[in-house]
Homo-oligomer: 228 residues x 2
């Protein structure tokens, strides 16, 4: 019985299994190559752009060959998502006491990494916690704990930041797609300003300093988490 390398398996153990066709135009199929190509398709055409058939085509392989290396499409998406989220830490040599800058850096990088691949935002809600996500949470936990957040508040603090970042990122990505809708909504708002006078006046839906708003709101939250 054949044993697939999928899941937590061993991938490919042997060194050079495919010396038959060494033409560099088509290197052998592999998990990594599949994920990399999936990323290309996702970046080019979004979630709908990723089709097992298209993926196989671009890899120069038959569709069903993919399923030897990968459980199913969901598996591909999981791998693609996690591959977007690795984090190499803040630029070294910051004064190591500045916990706040460290947190802000990591969270801004988190958001930026996902916005560089907008499809990832609609993927996140329903996926499991990959290694890279857990690493970020660990870093967050360690930093906040070192900054003096009480143990009893620690989990709530972490989840608050998580929630904020996820909400901001998902929102940003979704509004980016439907920019004209947003303008239309704001116009509707102002015309029949009866029902929505306040947000109509404050131009809530037209404010497009997303990065600034994210930083500002993050500041509010951190103020609340570690007052003084």
């Amino acid at each position: 019985m054949a044993t697939k390398p999928s899941g937590a398996g061993s991938k490919r153990a042997r060194a050079a299994p495919q010396p038959a066709q060494e033409a560099p135009g088509e290197p052998p199929l592999s998990r990594d190559r599949i994920v990399a190509t999936a990323l290309e398709l996702l970046d080019a055409d979004g979630l709908d752009g990723l089709t097992m058939r298209r993926l196989a085509d671009r890899l120069g392989a038959g569709v069903m060959s993919l399923y030897w290396h990968v459980d199913n499409k969901e598996d591909v998406l999981d791998l693609a998502l996690d591959s977007v989220l690795d984090y190499r830490g803040p630029p070294q040599l910051d004064k190591p006491e500045d916990w706040r800058a460290e947190v802000v850096h990591m969270l801004e990088d988190w958001r930026a990494s996902m916005l560089r691949h907008p499809w990832s935002t609609s993927l996140l809600p329903r996926r499991a916690l990959g290694r890279n996500i857990l690493s970020r949470l660990e870093l967050l936990s360690k930093t906040l704990s070192g900054a003096g957040v009480a143990d009893a508040d620690l989990n709530a603090a972490i989840w608050s930041l998580w929630n904020y970042v996820m909400g901001a990122t998902i929102t940003r990505a979704s509004f980016d797609v439907s920019n004209e809708d947003r303008a239309a909504a704001q116009q509707r708002l102002e015309q029949l300003s009866g029902p929505y006078p306040t947000i109509g006046r404050s131009r809530l839906l037209l404010d497009d300093d997303w990065d600034g708003a994210f930083r500002k709101g993050l500041g509010f939250l951190l103020d609340g988490l570690a007052p003084g």
Copy 2:
């Protein structure tokens, strides 16, 4: 040429168009009936449970009949989502000065409304702003403004709360689905507690007082927004 009632159209104008079959078992098709039935299917079986064919079956109609009343499936989903989000305001007779309680009540209701229909959380990211969402934002804006939040901070404050609520709700719904995954992840964390000692120890992934964490984090954020 037939004119469909879809979009911002007139729906059905006439009073009793279908006296032919008055059997109460099958009232005439209508936008409202379609949305109501879609809600049933979504609540019962989630996003995958909603199929145009299943929807039509349950309505006792042919599949293509739906398309007279509705543009496409996305239209159905938009309507279903918005129908979940209406808000009737806080229980009257609270002391009207307590802006904080008012905000908390609205946001907790927002979250609760969506969690009562978990499919709505995976729908939200990519949909336009319906009337009910705008109403909530308007209320939020008015209340915060009245509470003394500076005009320059107002939009950032609103978006911060939005982000927090969306992130919390989406996260909660997604973890609810994959509870076993969560437990498995925590176990993995504790066993090979090398890479993730802090969040392993704090049992971050096992803490299931979601409501408490939501309230607590919201408190942090409000503290930051309106200090003192």
